[in-house]
Assembly symmetry: C2
C-alpha cells in the first residue's frame, strides 16, 4: 500500500521535474540560441512553466501524498532513495508554500525581461537603462524575503541557494577569510610575474579545440554533453545524460579554457548523479556552494596546478604554436596563477576572487535592507572596489554591471562562490588523504581517480542530503576557511620562490 | 461580464500555448542540439508536456468557460479574433476529448523513442532495427483513429493535419494529378538536360553564406530567426519573433539552398501571423497543406524561377566562383528544373514529387487498414517505386527508410505536401492577377510585393479560419489541380524550347 503511494509520488514528481527541466531548457536556449527578439514571449513562457511547477509543488494532492507517506518514509533507511525523496520533497514543499504563485511568476518574468536589458546596458555602459529593472528585481526579492520568518531578510534569500545557511555564519567565515586574504594578496601582488603570454591573438576555432582537449579528460560519457558560447558562462543539465556547458572565447586572452574547466566541474556533478534519481528533485547538486566547490576544484586545484599543465601544456603548444612555442611551462604556470587586484570578478585570480565576493555579499545585504539607494549603487560599488581591492573602476560595464545575477533577480547567490572555494580545498585535502598519488595521475592527464572518488562520495547522492549533512559525510565536519588559506599560502609561496 | 470571461479564456489559453511552445522547443532541441544520449529522458519530458497540454484542453474548467462564452462568441463578428478564438478552441477541444490522455502520451513517447532509432537505421540501412518501432507507431495510430467516428480510419489521421479534409477527396484530386503528371513526366524526362553543374564540391561555409543571402530577401524582421543543420529539415516557431528554420549542407550537391528556401516559406507564414494572436492556438498556419503551399511557393515558384535567379545567380557565382564562373544562368536554371524520376522524395523535381507522395499516401492507407505486412513494407515500397517512377531502389536507406515522418508517428501527413503544390499555384495565380509586375520585382530580388500580399491575405490570419474557409478567402474556391498542371506544362515547355 505504501509502496503504491510511493510509486504515485515518484510519478507525480517525475512530471514536475520534466516540466522544470523543459523550463530549464527554455532558459538555456534563451542565453545560447534564441534570436534576440524572442525575449518577450520567452519571458512569458518561462513564467508560465515556473508557475505550473509551483502549483504542482504546493498542490493539496502532493500534500496528502506526503502526509500518507510520512511514517513509511521514517521507517526506511535515512539514506535510501525513497526516504530521501519523501523527506526532501516535504521540505521543498513547505518552503514553496510560503510564497504566493503570483510572486514567483512575477519574479521569473521580471528576470527574463531584465536579462536582455542588462546585456544591452553592459554593452553600452548604461546603468540607468538597467536601473528600473534592478529596482524591480530588488523589490520583488524583498517581498519574497517577507514571506519567511527569519532572523534577517537576507537569510531567506541565502537559503534558496544554500539551504540552512545563515547570513551570520557567512559573515563570520568571510571575516576570517578576509583577515587571511588581505595580507596574502598584499604580499603576492608585490611579486613581479610576467603574464604577457596570456595575451595575444587566440583564434576561436583553436580555443574551441583546446577546450575540447581539456574536457575530454573529465570523463563525460560519450554523446552526453555539449558546450556553447554565451555572454556569461554557466552549466546546466536536462538529464544526467544531457549536460550543457557554456563558455566564451575572448580572442585576446587565454581565459576561456578556465571558464570551460569551471563549467566542466559543475557539469560533472550533475552528470554523475545516480541514474536512479533521474526525473526527481534529487537529481542535481545539493547546494550552490557544493556545486561551486566542484567547479572551483576543476578550474583551480586541477586546472591551475603545475601537474595538470605538465600534461596539458604540450597540447596548448601544439594548438597555439606561435603563442607558446617559446614559452616555458613554468612561465605559463606562474602567469595563470598571478595575483593582481583587478576589476572583473570572473577574471580574478584565486586569491583576490573572494574579496570580489565579499563586496557583493555586503552590497546585497544593503540592497535588501534598503540602506543603499540604487541610483547610488555605481558610486558605492566604485568606492568599495577602491577600498577592498585598491582599483579604480573606469565605467559601470567594468563595475556594477559586470555580473548577470542581479538581472535574473538572483540575489543571495554570490556568497556561494567564495564558500565553494573554501569547500573545494576541504574536499581536495580529503581526496589527497585517500589517493596519495593523485598528482601523479593528474600529471598524466588522468583524472579518473579523482572523479571516481568524487562520484562515490559526493556526486552520485545528488540532493539526497542537506549541504550540512553532505559536508559532514564528505569532509567530516563543517565549513572551515583554514585549508583554503593554507593552500593559497603554500601555492603562492612556491610561485614566489 | 462576457468580456471578463473572455479575458479568462485568453489567459487560460496563453498558458496552454506557452507550454505547447516550450514543448516544441524541446522537440526542436532534440533534433538540432541535444547530445544523442539525452534521447530517453527527453522522450519522457516531451510526453509529459504533451499530456499536460492535453489535460488542460479537455479540462472541465475550459469546457465551462467555452460554454459560458458561446453566445458571446456568436454575437461577435465571425472574423474577429475573439469569435475565432472561442470557435476554434471549442473545435480543438471537441477533437481532443475523443482521445484518452494516456494514448496521446504513449504516441508522443513512442515517437520520441523511435526517432533516434530511425536515424541509426537509416544510417546503417537496417530496416529491421526500425521495424518494431514502426509497428508500434502504426498500432498507436490505429488505436487513435478508432477514437473517432469517420467514414474510413485514415480520415481521422488526415484530419489532424488537414482539418475537414476527407480521404476520398484527396483520392480524387490525386487521381486527376496523376493523370496529368504521368504523360508530363514521360515527356519532360526524355529531354536531355545537363545537370552536372549541380554536382561538385560545395564547402559548408559557402553554402551557409548563400543560404543567408537568399533568406535575407525573404523579409524576416531583424533578430527574429535562426537556421541550423539537421538530418531532415523543418521549420518551427516559438513566437512570431522567434522563428527556427533548419537545413542541411550536402557537400557534393547544390540542394541545401532549396531546403532553406522551402523552410523559409514555412517560417514566413508563422512569422507573419498577427501579433494579436500571439500565445493563442490561432498563432500558426491553418493547416499543413496551406503551410506547404507557402514553402513550395518560395522553393519552387520563386526559388526555381528564371526571374529569381537573374538576381541570385551573380551571388551564387560570387560565392562559388570555381563552380559557376563558366556556367550560363540558363544552364543552371535548366538544371535546377530538370525532370528525372529518382529515389528520394526530398530531392525530387517539381514534376515527379507528387508521384512520391501518391505512393506514400497509398501505403499509409494500407498500413492503417492492415492490408500490408510491415515486414514486407520494404518490398512493397520497392515494387511501387518501379511501377510509378520506373526506378530501382538499391537499399532501404534510399527507400522506405528515407523519411522522418513515420518515426515520429506522423501518419496522414504526406498528402499535404502534394496538396501544398496544388494550392501554391492556385495562390500564385491570384497574386499575379493583383500584382502584374510581380516577376519584375522578383528579378530585382525584391519579394516585398509578394510577401505583402501574402501577409495581408493569408499569413496574418493564422488559424482563425479553417483550411476550406481560408482557401475560399484567398483564391475564391476549393482545391483545383489544374493551375498546378498548367504551370508545370508551361514551365517545362519553355525549358524544352
Amino acid at each position: 500500500m505504501s509502496e503504491e503511494r510511493y510509486s504515485e509520488l515518484r510519478d507525480y514528481l517525475a512530471e514536475v521535474w520534466d516540466l522544470a527541466k523543459v523550463g530549464g531548457l527554455a532558459g538555456w536556449d534563451q542565453q545560447t540560441m534564441m534570436p534576440p527578439q524572442g525575449a518577450s514571449v520567452r519571458a512569458r513562457q518561462l513564467a508560465t512553466v515556473s508557475k505550473i511547477v509551483h502549483e504542482r509543488l504546493v498542490s493539496d494532492e502532493l500534500g496528502a501524498l506526503l502526509e500518507e507517506l510520512r511514517s513509511y518514509g521514517e521507517s526506511l533507511d535515512y539514506e535510501s532513495d525513497e526516504a530521501s525523496l519523501i523527506r526532501v520533497t516535504r521540505r521543498d514543499r513547505d518552503k514553496e508554500l510560503h510564497v504566493p504563485a503570483e510572486l514567483r511568476e512575477k519574479q521569473t518574468r521580471a528576470g527574463a525581461e531584465a536579462f536582455p536589458v542588462w546585456v544591452e546596458a553592459r554593452r553600452t555602459n548604461d546603468f540607468e537603462l538597467f536601473r528600473p529593472y534592478l529596482e524591480r528585481n530588488v523589490a520583488l526579492r524583498r517581498e519574497y524575503a517577507a514571506c519567511f520568518e527569519v532572523d534577517e531578510p537576507y537569510d531567506a534569500l541565502l537559503d534558496d541557494f544554500e539551504p540552512g545557511m545563515k547570513t551570520a555564519e557567512v559573515r563570520e567565515v568571510f571575516a576570517r577569510l578576509r583577515d587571511g586574504l588581505v595580507p596574502l594578496v598584499a604580499e603576492a601582488s608585490a611579486q613581479e610575474i610576467d603574464a604577457l603570454c596570456l595575451h595575444g591573438h587566440f583564434p576561436i576555432e583553436a580555443q574551441r579545440e583546446m577546450q575540447r582537449v581539456l574536457l575530454s579528460r573529465f570523463g563525460f560519457r560519450e554523446g552526453t554533453w555539449r558546450i556553447d558560447p554565451v555572454e556569461h558562462p554557466f552549466a546546466t543539465s536536462f538529464g544526467t545524460s544531457d549536460v550543457r556547458m557554456t563558455t566564451y572565447y575572448p580572442e585576446h586572452e587565454m581565459r576561456g579554457i578556465f571558464a570551460a574547466m569551471h563549467e566542466g566541474g559543475h557539469a560533472l556533478y550533475e552528470h554523475n548523479v545516480d541514474p536512479s534519481l533521474e526525473r526527481t528533485p534529487l537529481c542535481r547538486g545539493t547546494s550552490l556552494a557544493l556545486h561551486e566547490s566542484q567547479s572551483r576544484m576543476f578550474e583551480n586545484l586541477v586546472g591551475r596546478s603545475i601537474q595538470w599543465w605538465r600534461w596539458a601544456y604540450p597540447e596548448l603548444q601544439r594548438i597555439f604554436p606561435e603563442q607558446y612555442e617559446g614559452v616555458e611551462l613554468e612561465t605559463f604556470h606562474r602567469a595563470i596563477n598571478k595575483v593582481q587586484p583587478s576589476l572583473i570578478r570572473i577574471e580574478a585570480d584565486e586569491a583576490t576572487y573572494s574579496l570580489h565576493i565579499i563586496l557583493r555579499f555586503e552590497l546585497e545585504q544593503d540592497l535588501i535592507a534598503g540602506t543603499v539607494d540604487i541610483a547610488e549603487l555605481p558610486n558605492v560599488w566604485n568606492e568599495r572596489m577602491r577600498e577592498y581591492l585598491g582599483v579604480e573602476v573606469p565605467d559601470d560595464s567594468h563595475g556594477v554591471l559586470q555580473d548577470v545575477h542581479w538581472s535574473r533577480g538572483t540575489i543571495g547567490y554570490f556568497s556561494t562562490y567564495a564558500l565553494g572555494n573554501v569547500i573545494s580545498v576541504q574536499i581536495w585535502d580529503k581526496v589527497l588523504g585517500d589517493v596519495p598519488d593523485l598528482y601523479e595521475h593528474v600529471e598524466r592527464g588522468d583524472l579518473e581517480p579523482l572523479t571516481a572518488w568524487l562520484r562515490e562520495r559526493l556526486w552520485r547522492h545528488g540532493r539526497k542530503f542537506t549541504p550540512q549533512e553532505t559536508l559532514e559525510r564528505v569532509v567530516g565536519g563543517g565549513l572551515d576557511p583554514e585549508p583554503y588559506l593554507r593552500y593559497l599560502n603554500e601555492k603562492l609561496g612556491v610561485l614566489a620562490s
